[in-house]
């Protein structure tokens, strides 16, 4: 089992003090230590945005993809070696703007991936432009007159697209976030974990204080198998109206569990020295 020390790379985090990414990183490392995720069983994939720096600070083999393109790369990794525990770290701009198409299709295919959305409702790395999660009317460098667009809701989008595990956390609650990361990863199928996080530098609206005052846990009798209820709860947003927890979870076969070629072994373990192809070639005579 790895210790926290084993996960250190020697690179110090470059996030702003108070950034939600620090808390998500901490929650992930705690989860990794408790679950034994390391270089022998786990692979991390990130897109581009402040979230992506996490790879530099976490000593687990990883792939830093292009902006918006973490999910296709992660899908290829999972299909090639489905025994690997594959995490996708992505931002709201990365996942819902540039990578929106990949997100909805990954959901509908139910790949066994854990998608963690660092949701700060802003483009932080490019120094503060409106994101698909920014509220309507929001003023930023790209919308100085106020955002004319309505925000996207990653939870309802994921439910509608067919993801089989959908949860929301708040970065300020490190223990709660770690628990959700573990639950999402234990789920067999596409798990979406939207983590609300402040951007302390560029998003003054969604601050730690805002979230602390307005989030609440889903009630213990919330039935995550009820899709309509999940959708209804996911639509809630506002003063004292931001639920956290597992909105939706159903057991459906993951994509990888239904590919006959990899039923007994991973794709990369199947021998490829295909010398006897005369039966194949004969079909074309």
């Amino acid at each position: 089992m790895p210790t926290l020390n084993d996960l250190a790379t020697g690179c110090s985090p470059t996030w702003c003090p108070g950034c939600g990414d620090l808390a998500i990183w901490g929650a992930f490392k705690n989860a990794a230590v408790s679950q034994g995720w390391d270089n022998t069983n786990t692979c991390l994939v990130a897109g581009i945005g402040c979230h992506g720096h996490l790879l530099n600070f976490t000593k687990i083999t990883s792939f830093e993809s292009l902006h918006g393109r973490a999910i296709p790369v992660a899908t290829g990794i999972k299909l090639a070696n489905h025994k690997l525990n594959v995490f996708v770290f992505t931002g709201d701009g990365d996942c819902l703007a540039e990578g929106g198409n990949h997100f909805i299709h990954a959901c509908r295919r139910n790949h066994n991936l854990t998608v963690v959305i660092h949701d700060n409702a802003i483009y932080g790395l490019t120094t503060g432009q409106t994101s698909p999660r920014s509220p309507r009317g929001y003023k930023s460098k790209s919308t100085p007159q106020g955002n004319p667009d309505y925000p996207l809701n990653p939870l309802t989008l994921a439910i509608a697209s067919g993801a089989t595990f959908i949860a929301r956390g708040y970065a300020g609650d490190i223990a709660g976030t770690a628990k959700l990361i573990i639950q999402a990863n234990a789920h067999q199928g596409l798990a979406v974990l939207d983590i609300l996080q402040p951007c302390v530098t560029f998003n003054k609206e969604y601050s730690h204080t805002f979230y602390q005052q307005n989030v609440y846990p889903l009630s213990t009798d919330h039935d995550p198998r009820n899709k309509e209820l999940a959708f209804k709860k996911a639509l809630e947003w506002g003063e004292k109206q931001i639920p956290l927890g597992v909105f939706y979870q159903v057991d459906e076969p993951s994509y990888e569990s239904e590919v006959p070629q990899i039923k007994d072994q991973t794709l990369i373990d199947i021998p490829v020295d295909r010398k006897n192809l005369s039966n194949l070639f004969r079909r074309y005579i």
Binding site: T40, H53, K59, F63, S65, R69, G76, H105, F281, I285
Partner: protein
């Protein structure tokens, strides 16, 4: 054309009438009778209603290009006759449906043989499918060309094996009626084009797309994600068929961006991966081309060219993407670009591309044009006994000090995969030797230099000299690439004093060898299916040699041997 032994059959009708599969059946009858064949198809980007035509060329010798003239036209409608009557050579014939109102009054009976056959009546008697008209017409053609009906019957039994006895029997009835009718009514016109040769050596009939898919399977492909796009889609449909049997995965992605991303992910995780597309899809993949190069992940992309820009001409031929694939993406990085000239080369280069991608840990692009992908080619059964799968510097051994991007003299570092315990980051940001993001000057320079060194290593160790067909000292040297090869070799049969420089390596480029050949050539003509002479530009860039005579065609149609002959005649007569 000087080749009297080459016989050309054209089948025409509406899209949806099964023209392509009829042509393939006839081609297989010819092949199994001991002849070499080639097919060329023209079809609009429609599923029903437009004009479809397939040309089947039959010869005792190798044949690898379409021709302009027609010896036997099988016309399933009036439109086919109207469009192709001028292409019929003297002494040629037309099979058509005598049950339909078909106007043939304009044909001179002294020059063109008319073969009216009651296609519809025989088809209706044989069964309920309208496609039986094709079977009747092919059977009549086999009879007229002196072929053996049994070979056709065997083929039909194999083709419809999973459709049940009723379908097979109605087709056999259709064969018998068409074959017997032609024998009984046109006995004095029967030729011996398809007369079975004793003990023929077996040949495969594959289109280039199938050759690439089969090459990928033979080359140890483990993962492929391909988004459908003409003319590359037959690669995915072939790969999709055999995935369970041979233990690889074909996945249909949501777009070409995802196709290439999935392949990069699979490649990073240790699977041999290949994607395929046309120019438009490649445009979407360009973003990830540099990702594969930056993370040093093996990747093969097959780019099947069609005329552009934009949607262009989806079902026609072009070679207009050479400069695009050579330059696409920001910054400098090593890319290997190969170009196949026929189905056999496509098969061989696909296997080689998979090896090169692994050995040099960088993207390899295989360029093919629509004619290579869609034409059917006659090839000896592929022999894979000599092929080796070379994974390059790939290690699964655990090493706590593993350094993924360690500097190496040849530019190629040891690669490992996730799950081995070896830690590294495959990073799209510039990085240090372990993969950590770095803006340090030493890291930037050493990593960029290391990556670019791979191209030189590849050129020094892998690149063969270019192929020359014909005499060393020729009066005229033709330079070309892609499917033009077939037409050029066909044209050169009439010009023993001309030779052909065929290029398959575009990057790295055999600059010194090409320079030597061109500098010593008496006269050089380049031949390309694009507007701007993209290969000639590449040659100028790499060698300084400017080609003055260019035969360029950009109308989507093949460069026919006849056109090359005309060009050579005009140049040689101007010279003397």
């Amino acid at each position: 054309m000087s080749d009297e032994s080459l016989f050309s059959i054209t089948i025409g009708g509406q899209a949806g009438q099964g023209i392509k599969s009829s042509g393939l059946t006839l081609a297989k009858v010819a092949s199994r009778s001991g002849y070499r064949v080639h097919t060329y198809t023209e079809f609009p980007s429609l599923i029903r209603g437009g004009h479809n035509v397939i040309q089947i060329l039959v010869s005792p010798k190798e044949v690898s290009a379409p021709v302009k003239h027609i010896h036997l036209l099988i016309a399933l409608n009036q439109d086919t006759i109207n469009r192709h009557r001028a292409e019929l050579s003297s002494g040629g014939g037309v099979i058509y449906d005598s049950d339909k109102k078909i106007d043939t009054s304009f044909f001179d009976p002294g020059l063109i043989n008319l073969f009216p056959v009651p296609l519809s009546k025989f088809a209706n008697t044989a069964g309920s499918s309208e496609l039986l008209v094709n079977t009747v017409s092919i059977a009549a053609a086999v009879a007229l060309l002196g072929g053996d009906a049994k070979i056709l019957e065997t083929l039909i039994r194999e083709e419809f094996a999973d459709k049940g006895e009723a379908v097979i029997n109605s087709n056999l009835t259709a064969i018998q009626s068409g074959f017997e009718y032609a024998k009984a009514n046109f006995n004095d016109k029967i030729k011996s084009v398809l007369a079975p040769v004793s003990n023929p050596s077996p040949h495969m009939i594959v289109n280039g797309a199938e050759a690439i898919a089969l090459g990928a399977i033979a080359g140890g492909l483990q993962f492929s994600a391909i988004y459908p796009m003409s003319p590359a889609s037959n690669i995915l449909s072939t790969l999709a068929l055999y995935q369970e049997q041979y233990g690889y995965i074909y996945k249909q992605p949501e777009d070409e961006i995802s196709a290439v991303g999935m392949c990069i992910g699979a490649g990073f995780a240790g699977a041999r991966a290949l994607t395929a597309t046309s120019g438009g899809g490649f445009s979407l993949m360009v973003e990830s081309l540099g990702l594969a190069a930056m993370t040093e992940t093996p990747l093969v992309i097959v780019e099947g060219m069609r005329p552009g820009p934009a949607t262009g001409l989806p079902t026609w031929n072009a070679q207009g993407d050479l400069q695009f694939v050579l330059h696409a993406h920001q910054g400098d990085f090593p890319r290997i670009v190969l170009a196949a000239g026929c189905a056999q080369e496509a098969f061989d280069l696909t296997i080689q591309a998979l090896n090169l991608a692994d050995k040099y840990q960088t993207p390899v692009i295989l360029l093919v044009d629509k004619n290579i992908l869609d034409d059917d080619w006659s090839v000896s059964p592929f022999d894979v006994s000599g092929y080796l799968i070379d994974r390059g510097k790939l290690t699964a051994d655990f090493n706590p000090e593993f350094t993924r991007y360690a500097p190496e003299a040849d530019g190629v570092s040891y690669r490992s995969i996730p799950g081995t315990g070896n830690f590294f980051i495959a990073n799209s940001d510039e990085h240090n030797a372990s993969g950590f993001s770095s803006e340090d000057v030493t890291d930037i320079v050493s990593q960029q230099t290391k990556r670019m060194t791979k191209l030189k290593t590849c050129a020094d160790t892998e690149m063969p000299p270019p192929q020359i067909f014909g005499p060393e000292n020729a009066d005229v040297t033709l330079v070309s690439w892609g499917s033009n090869k077939g037409s050029i070799l066909s044209a050169l049969e009439s010009f023993p004093q001309a030779n052909y420089l065929h290029l398959t390596w575009m990057n790295p480029f055999p600059a010194e060898a090409v320079k030597t050949i061109l500098n010593s050539a008496k006269r050089v003509i380049s031949i390309e299916a694009n507007y701007s002479g993209q290969l000639a530009k590449l040659i100028a860039e790499k060698t300084g040699f400017l080609i003055q005579d260019q035969l360029l065609k950009f109308d989507g149609r093949p460069i026919y041997p006849e056109e090359i002959i005309t060009k050579l005649n005009s140049i040689l007569s101007a010279k003397t």
